[in-house]
Symmetry: D3
Subunit: 284 residues, 6 copies
Amino acid sequence: MSSTISGNTEKFAEYKTLKVTIEQSIAHIELCRPAELNSMTTEFWSELPDAVRTIDEYVLARVIVISAQGKHFSAGMDLSVFANMGKDFQGEPARRAEKARRMILKLQDAFNALEEVRMPVLAALQGGVIGGAVDMVSACDSRYCTEDAFFCIKETEIGMTADVGTLQRLPHLMPQGLVRELVYTGRKMGSQESKNCGLVNHVYPDQETMLSEVMKIAQTIASHSPMAIAGCKEMLNYTRDHDVANSLNYIATWQSGMLQMPDVMEAMGAAQEKRAPIFKDLLP
Amino acid sequence: MSSTISGNTEKFAEYKTLKVTIEQSIAHIELCRPAELNSMTTEFWSELPDAVRTIDEYVLARVIVISAQGKHFSAGMDLSVFANMGKDFQGEPARRAEKARRMILKLQDAFNALEEVRMPVLAALQGGVIGGAVDMVSACDSRYCTEDAFFCIKETEIGMTADVGTLQRLPHLMPQGLVRELVYTGRKMGSQESKNCGLVNHVYPDQETMLSEVMKIAQTIASHSPMAIAGCKEMLNYTRDHDVANSLNYIATWQSGMLQMPDVMEAMGAAQEKRAPIFKDLLP
Amino acid sequence: MSSTISGNTEKFAEYKTLKVTIEQSIAHIELCRPAELNSMTTEFWSELPDAVRTIDEYVLARVIVISAQGKHFSAGMDLSVFANMGKDFQGEPARRAEKARRMILKLQDAFNALEEVRMPVLAALQGGVIGGAVDMVSACDSRYCTEDAFFCIKETEIGMTADVGTLQRLPHLMPQGLVRELVYTGRKMGSQESKNCGLVNHVYPDQETMLSEVMKIAQTIASHSPMAIAGCKEMLNYTRDHDVANSLNYIATWQSGMLQMPDVMEAMGAAQEKRAPIFKDLLP
Amino acid sequence: MSSTISGNTEKFAEYKTLKVTIEQSIAHIELCRPAELNSMTTEFWSELPDAVRTIDEYVLARVIVISAQGKHFSAGMDLSVFANMGKDFQGEPARRAEKARRMILKLQDAFNALEEVRMPVLAALQGGVIGGAVDMVSACDSRYCTEDAFFCIKETEIGMTADVGTLQRLPHLMPQGLVRELVYTGRKMGSQESKNCGLVNHVYPDQETMLSEVMKIAQTIASHSPMAIAGCKEMLNYTRDHDVANSLNYIATWQSGMLQMPDVMEAMGAAQEKRAPIFKDLLP
Amino acid sequence: MSSTISGNTEKFAEYKTLKVTIEQSIAHIELCRPAELNSMTTEFWSELPDAVRTIDEYVLARVIVISAQGKHFSAGMDLSVFANMGKDFQGEPARRAEKARRMILKLQDAFNALEEVRMPVLAALQGGVIGGAVDMVSACDSRYCTEDAFFCIKETEIGMTADVGTLQRLPHLMPQGLVRELVYTGRKMGSQESKNCGLVNHVYPDQETMLSEVMKIAQTIASHSPMAIAGCKEMLNYTRDHDVANSLNYIATWQSGMLQMPDVMEAMGAAQEKRAPIFKDLLP
Amino acid sequence: MSSTISGNTEKFAEYKTLKVTIEQSIAHIELCRPAELNSMTTEFWSELPDAVRTIDEYVLARVIVISAQGKHFSAGMDLSVFANMGKDFQGEPARRAEKARRMILKLQDAFNALEEVRMPVLAALQGGVIGGAVDMVSACDSRYCTEDAFFCIKETEIGMTADVGTLQRLPHLMPQGLVRELVYTGRKMGSQESKNCGLVNHVYPDQETMLSEVMKIAQTIASHSPMAIAGCKEMLNYTRDHDVANSLNYIATWQSGMLQMPDVMEAMGAAQEKRAPIFKDLLP
């Protein structure tokens, strides 16, 4: 597949805040401003959704792994974003409020992209996962971290209500009573507590080990039928937001078009022949 | 009560895939094809809902325990079901798709029965709980397992998206980040991890111990007012699918008819007299 | 702030079932009938919502801590309430049923108050948390307990379906499979199991330690912007009852009016000056 | 197609309350107890859903027309049904209430069948459409009537709240302010007012004209692709009960399997050749 | 019944903006400040909900008729309300925004009362129905008007978005395309157009005739079982806000407690004896 | 304002299927391929959403009027679109189905744009409004037509289920029983019937008169506060898709930021001074 990514991925090289590498159907997106604690600058907010949506649109990979360079995953929102926003807001207060609303919806959209793409997104986290970074990883499919990782809903401490996804998605990922304590106090939650409460799937001793293990999980996912995987992701997203009866009807309707025999035949044939199955990519 | 089940239960003896025993208001349904790993044949898909709905309609028991004979709980869908389905699907593709949709809805209905009956359904699991078996036990009220039990969402591995309930119900039973890893990779999850994440309530050293302990839980349930228990199940199902305000209104409305004093009087009288209370069955 | 509470809080001294103390923006509500196991009498059902709504309306505190005097948190509904109700119900059965429905909605409303007020409510629990007390603490933001604490959904045992919130809120706080076992059997769940399953955030060796530690958490919350905290609580309540897309839109709309710079400026200024920030109270 | 209906339709001849005729893909169901004002007896409540579901399951027609013999469409519930129900209800009041709830759900299901079948159901009405008959025709796709027709929500007058569909479906068919007047007063609404408010599509001078004209409409429907028609009905039902965003997503998902070229090709080819298109039936 | 209203209705005489008369189970609420065009002052916003909720709580009537003295029904919000509000809003803008939100919710609650009470509310309208008056009558069950009546969504013209119910309820009462024109332009809609589009049920030549005829409708409603009527209103409100499947389940559950034979027996007995049935009031 | 539209509107001149004129805050979008019956080509599907979203993003107008040149408004989908689509669909059927789903969602998005922009969209229709054109005008705020106009849900006739909005939006605009007849039969509905059923607001004798009158409506809208209008549109869209309680809460929350005094002051000042008010545009 690496031969087809040509033109579409050239822009990845221009990114200021992300490094994107695609190998063997796994796209690895790294936050690459460790010196600035991978804080989320204005460029970040456009590069991240651009990266994942390009990967999806042109079918450049079957799974996405997000990690970060340096000691911390991310310190969250870069203060320059607030400053830039401020410049745009002038005049009558109702019109400014209406504009602020659209601006927040736009920021949210950057993380919605992680949910909307057809392939799973795995987050591999070390050090601080702070403020906007919690919003971000809450929109990933699964989270993995190192022993030294910690989560901090920083917004409360700086006088704000988190508004790009943490309050909407975290309660689906861990017990509500604990979510509320973290949100109201802004205290740090360490890796072990994060594992125990279900927020992360596994804790690894260091980043190298973590990346190596998360890549193995990614390889397993990439080896499966991307049609089956895309159906699973669509259904898991749908189920979170609908009742069981509607969700059952939805998959039955989805399957009427999407359940076809070629992939099943290939999977079974490969199993009999004791070889790895070969599945076609999704269509762009 | 065993004297009243007469005619309605005769058909249980005809079942090919299930053994149904009813004693002291506990119905025990056993998957009874251990040699074939209790795979889910065409008969199974009609016998299971028939059994639980008959038990409910004629009020043959106050709680249902489902277990399996042999080393594994169930290997999931029997391949013969696919083969049988294939025969029916001919001709124009849209009409086949429409028929496939109805067929999946019908399969789903077999497990919906577990939710819809008025009495709790407990699942006692050993060995492999694979593919369709995960869909099935996700529709039970509570799950218990042996140390050697493991869960495997096999569908992904054979090129399919699970479509009879796993993706709709499992996210309500355990943390979403872990559900997604299991779904996308198809890896096995062992008994201890299943306990830690909340999917099963208790792990027992072996099947004999498990059945003995689960039957004690069933006896406790059977000793309570079936009217109170039926109300609890209705409310827990309803709450999963509605918001809190609607759910509170629903139970207030339900109670206006269902909350009556005879059962409370009996419970209190029995407590004072230090004897077991005697509650009437629900009406058929 | 203690100087402003004057008139509004005088009525607190009249309460029969609660002791209310407000210091440094923390309102401490204690169940104060330990000799009767803090059972929930007719007075309790009006005093509790009156207390929390008064604290909210007149902005008497920024966080509420609920605890109980004596060996047990609460034995739940006092039998006198049933007796009192009985007197009111006479005549034609449909009209009585309609009245019973309104009565239950009114009881539920007492605990809805815990959710609706703008400040977090923390529950500190020891000994038995039984029947109606489980309904009550399920409506608090977070729960903390001592080692000797246990939870018991008593209603089932006395022939009733719990109808003031347990069945509606508990499934959002801990795994569903375990909720169902507790509801159907009425068995006690101890402190460690409660911590493991996510129902309580922390277990403390004794009540004194617990209260001391919970008050520290309360102090942290009270030190933050009450505007930010109120936004968080509104969003967490909203998210539980709506899908993610609607919830994201809701916070964007909320923020258009509620996100203002003064609090952020104060938080940042205080951080730079290494002092505690000073935030204004909400408006009454 | 009339040659294929053989065995499945034999039972139609046994019906006591309905006459079923199938010609040229149009099933005509007539209420056939004019002497008793086509009141809804116990047999009716099972024969009606049996008829429409059999027609659907075996694909015996592409559209259903419901009409009635005699001067009035139907006087609604036959009093014998109440009497029969009464016999079954004995003993403890909560258990009776629970049984009554299931009984009502079962009656409702008879009219749900009209919505759930894959083909449109047209109602041709004359004289009185009273009580349960309003519930029934509210579940049909479209309504037509004669000049002498009138609608009457009789339940209110006999001390009951209509409970088999009128209150749930009528507000989707005509203005709410008028619905409420009809429901609260039980007054008769004549044909012209029914046409003006949108409840009926057309008023005809007499039953003969009406049946002749409604059959023409039915013929047009039967001449179209049953696949397209089934999709329309599914979508119209779905849209009534879901928001626009979900409904748009649903049809896109549905079409992924159901939109296929053969029917379009046939329609276009027939148009070019100036002949009637020939579409295959749905699969049974 | 007029003998029982004693103490509870004394406060009605104190009202500044409403005249309340109760006769033969019909409560007549008149806006009584014709000289000021019945504009909605601060007193009005508390007196209206107080009146209808008192009538409901003490079961003082079985139906409510709202009309107005003078040439116009109401000019809507009195400007003094804005002025009063302004005084309360000082200080930091986020806290003011949060307070404004609660203030609007409180205003809305005044009209929610019209929906929530157990008896139907009929609005009899003449002359201008302007601004807040449209919000108000949209929350009534049915609307009737004189030939000279007109509706005007005035808020748009004075630079505001209507926020106490018009935009939420009017689209349920008349065609959406027309609602949008009225809302965006603020143009007047006359009585005939209002009748044609379904917003009002009937147009009368003058107020005297209107009141006389609306009172006849009210009498019919008051003559029916208030239990049946209360059930109808609850169901019609519920259906507007829920899908059909949930609404059908809700009435089945409601009826399990509320459907009882005494009222039906009385209705049938009275019919046989050719006398008016006598139904008991609801319980307070 | 016409001076500010400079660069953004240059692209409008490049459009193949639309002519866009902006004067006095009214954007007039004309379908401009009358010789081809304004059929919807591939260019149309991108130009229409581009036009309305550009107008919204850069605040180029306060209201949009859509009309068409020639005898007919539009014949709906151009067959070339199907042909183009066909080329892209190759290979394994599940992957094609998944792609088809995304393609339909993209087509739908073109009409969603009409709903999502902050200003009202008025449709002025003559002659045939056919197939995709019905989907399109259903997404407009209000519809107006000439006497010779007719609506035709053509999709059914060509063997398809309409899938870009008709089935989702039309049932909100006119009575459901009539919608179903039109959908199932594909018959034409003339202007008078369209007016009577509420689909169009007004019928005009010819297109010139219609455009002149619709422009007057547009001018009225443009003269009002665009902040108030945007709030109205947001609320009307929201209310269609949510229940009344949620919708009331939403506007209260919206108003907390959006309700500000400058526009109200200007409106009142202008009224006192008997001049037209001058409102600022929304922010881009």
